[in-house]
């Protein structure tokens, strides 16, 4: 949190790498993934435009680092919400869904870097690793949930987790941030809750 106003005493910044990450988060949150520029991130960190090159290969690399940290945080939050499937597979699954939306709302900069910055996972093994891990939590939660069903009417867990992922992502993009959905009569939380509720009833997980 070392900003321009917060003048450095020393020639060395001390924590420039992370300061740049934080500046990037702020800029991305405010102006979108493309409103972000390396030069302005440097400015916000109170450092010359050339300084970031001591820590990042360039603009892309900085965004990738933000996404990387985002995926780790995301995975942590989902895992914590999942809580090893306790107390029940259903409650754990619901909590994971809620954690998804909570992450997107509380960490919009990370979310945008991860899903809207146009960054590509292929060719960045670090990113692939952390994103796979985060997504696997959702799949695991789906698996445990589906275990309750007789095998004959049990859809693939990956499919189910993709359904939930899609619905969650859609709710985030359309209704969570003054986006196209605009002033909808339902909050993002309500929409996701009710949507997954109906979906789970369709799966036969919730009776009646």
């Amino acid at each position: 949190m070392n900003e321009q106003s917060n003048a450095r005493k020393s020639y060395h910044h001390g924590n420039l790498k992370q300061a740049l990450v934080e500046a990037t988060l702020a800029l991305i949150t405010e102006k979108g993934p493309q409103g972000f520029t390396l030069a302005e991130a440097a400015r916000q960190a109170g450092v010359s435009a050339a300084a970031p090159y001591r820590h990042f290969k360039g603009r892309e690399d900085l965004i990738a680092e933000v996404a990387r940290q985002g995926y780790i945080l995301f995975g942590d939050l989902l895992e914590h919400a999942y809580n090893n499937g306790q107390p029940t597979a259903l409650s754990a699954f619901s909590k994971v869904g809620r954690a998804y939306l909570a992450f997107a709302k509380r960490h919009p900069g990370h979310y945008i870097a991860m899903f809207e910055s146009g960054i590509s996972l292929t060719g960045n093994s670090d990113l692939t690793t952390v994103s796979t891990r985060a997504m696997s939590v959702m799949t695991l939660a789906a698996e445990k949930l589906l275990a309750h069903l007789p095998a004959s009417e049990r859809p693939p867990a990956i499919m189910v987790s993709h359904h939930i992922w899609a619905m969650s992502h859609g709710v985030v993009e359309l209704f969570a941030r003054g986006a196209p959905g605009g002033r909808a009569p339902f909050s993002a939380e309500d929409l996701l809750e009710s949507g997954t509720g109906i979906y789970l009833r369709g799966l036969g997980i919730i009776p009646e």
Copy 2:
């Protein structure tokens, strides 16, 4: 479809406005909403960088026009798919869902301009009008579908259409365009079909 290579014979272009719209579509599809520049659109239309200002207030205004045309096309396709709810409310509803995904895949430039360009509906009444109209088709389809249910277990149509909208948009963003979902084991079409199928069963529309 009047491109650079397709040299104008005359001093006047004849159809520059639409040529710029088409160039924008191509650029946006290829490089994302921010990879697009007015200058390059002009270049692709075989015209000087100043020419677009005869037809648009500026960069934003051109993107807005693309989005506007997109919403109109989108609305037309949804309405055609809906087909006045014939032959059954359920089949019409399903067709609308499929049309949503088909539009996103066949007209990615429009879709991106509409939903990912960061364009704002507020303050552009033209845009608001056409987008409202498109979305109302989805709500109408939901309404007719829900009419089959006893009032006691009938959720608001707007909520249902928002659920479907969210799931559809999520599928488009995550699985329809080599996006984060990457090489998933299911196609976007399959995912949306199965997802809405489970959802509709949850609503009690599809039995068993």
